[in-house]
């Protein structure tokens, strides 16, 4: 019985010893093994690893997953002295766990440092571009991608050298204007819309007037054409009539003259006319000298 007991005690002690020597390293972390508090080696591969039991060797774990640093938006001045409210974020991860541990210890402090770098780089880069490089409808004018790449590159270098951090990407999450500029933008938008509305209305008038004038013109053309045509027709008719008369009358001009004179008498002499006939006129001859 006593032998069993001592065996059990020994076994337990052995298990405890083994457990204190074994460390399980997750895929999501680096393990740094410290000898009396001094970093000795890094286990970057996940799985089972061995170390001396404490207090000889202890372990510190550092998360190696991607982290998003999302600081509050800040005001920046562009090259053409425009205020913008830029909101950039950085995706980062621990690249050198040892340096990371030594310089910033944990993620919160790391983010504070990274935020400073980020703000400085964003400020410097935005300050060397016009606003049109951020906002423009001209094709090829906007260079946000290349600006962010430059910022990423510079931030990466500083963060890696200083804190063992690898900055994977810095992107512009949001762009806006500080409050007073924002109000100015709203006012400008309003003015712009008013202008566009006015333009639509006067364009409407313009086009309507064009259509109407065109219609009037067409009307005048149609009527003038018709007038010309009818004059032509009338003229031809008159000519034809003249020709017919001429042809007929020229057969015997004397007789025509005689007839026409009679007709002329008929139309000249009306009720108000007074005819003075000499009594020896041909008409009255029979009155005086009956045969």
């Amino acid at each position: 019985m006593r032998r069993i007991f001592s065996t059990l005690v020994l076994a337990t002690l052995a298990v405890i010893l083994v457990l204190s020597c074994a460390i399980v390293v997750q895929e999501t972390e680096y393990a740094i093994i410290l000898t009396f508090g001094n970093p000795r080696r890094i286990v970057s591969k996940a799985g089972l690893a061995w170390k001396l039991p404490p207090p000889f060797e202890t372990v510190v774990r550092i998360d190696k997953r991607l982290r998003i640093l999302d600081p509050t938006p800040a005001e920046y001045l562009t090259l053409d002295k425009k205020n913008v409210l830029a909101d950039a974020f950085a995706a980062w991860e621990v690249a050198d766990p040892l340096q990371f541990l030594v310089s910033v210890v944990d993620r919160n402090r790391a983010e504070a440092q990274l935020e400073d770098i980020l703000r400085a780089e964003v400020g410097a880069e935005l300050g060397s571009h016009d606003l049109a490089a951020l906002l423009s409808i001209e094709p090829g004018r906007v260079q946000v991608d290349s600006i962010m790449r430059t910022i990423t590159e510079r931030t990466r270098v500083k963060a890696r050298d200083g804190y063992g951090i690898n900055v994977r990407a810095v992107r512009l999450k949001r762009l806006n204007f500080p409050e007073e500029n924002r109000q100015a933008v709203f006012r400008r938008m309003e003015a712009e819309r008013e202008r566009i509305a006015r333009q639509y209305r006067s364009e409407g008038e313009e086009e309507a007037e064009k259509v109407r004038a065109q219609a009037d013109l067409e009307q005048a053309r149609i009527l003038a054409d018709a007038d010309r045509l009818s004059q032509e027709i009338r003229g031809e008719a008159d000519a034809e009539a003249t020709r017919i008369y001429g042809e007929a009358y020229s057969r015997d001009p004397e007789f025509y003259e005689f007839l026409k004179t009679l007709e002329a008498y008929e139309s000249i002499i009306d009720q108000d006319a007074t005819i003075v006939l000499p009594s020896n006129s041909r008409l009255l001859r029979l009155l005086r000298e009956p045969k």
Partner: protein, 327 residues
Amino acid sequence: MRVSWWQRLELAVPRRWAILRDRLARRATPRNLLAAVALLVLVDWCATGIRAVREDEQAVVLQFGRVVRVAPAGLLFHLPWPIERTVVFKTREVRTMPVGFKLVDAVRGMPPDPKEVEWVTGDTNIINMTMTVKYAVNDPVAYLVRVGPVDADFLVRRATESVLTTLVATMPVDDLLTSGKVLIQEETRLQAQALLNELEAGLRLVAVNIGSVDPPATVIEAFNDVATAKLEKARMINQADGYQRDLIPRARAMAERKVREAESYSATTVEGARGRAAQYLDLLAEARKARRITETRLYLEALERILPRARLIVAEERKGNAIRIVE
């Protein structure tokens, strides 16, 4: 005596039980008991290495924290805890993430924060835009190793926002309010996916849906007025068109009338001339037969018509120029 089968059973079970109990009692030495307990513990321990993976799941098997394999749906056997453990992902589960607003606000019916909902367009206008992003875990290992469940939402949201900011910054406000929406959805999804791939997040964007695009409340009236003005323009042009459609046929009708009138004049004049010429020629023909007679007849007929109308004065020539007037 016939014994039914249950009576036999009633007799047999206690007997069997007694036999079993006796045997167990004989073998129940402390050593055997310990062995039994150990066996039980062992079986139980091994059972921690068995689990069912459902149809819509994938299980990542970790050996001392290291990813060793990804198991598909079905019964999964792995080494018992703590040597191996599994993390299960629902790979078909699509999660939804709001961009430009907070779900909490939307549920409460509160307007979104200007800071979240406002975007600046390429022509320096501000618009309010909301969208939802649907995503799923695509690569469980990458997701587990690189992101973790806490940061995934955040990452997806930031990635989408950054792409959208860049895209909107190149577009005029009118495009965004009209046709640009659909274009932006697909483009945002593609570019945000590219960023997630670059970060090896193991996430797949299923869809980016633009919820609403509106001008900000302070300027919405001005925008609506533009829409009204557009309609007015169309109305004005329509009216003018109506005027034209009314005027031209009328003019054509009038023109037609003029020409027809001229034609009828022409007919009247020419035919009249022909008639009169014919009449004249008839008369002439008649006159030629007896010229003097005809002329006298015509003369007298004319006088018959004329003289009754007019006052006739007959002047008699006398010596001394006295004139006697006969009426």
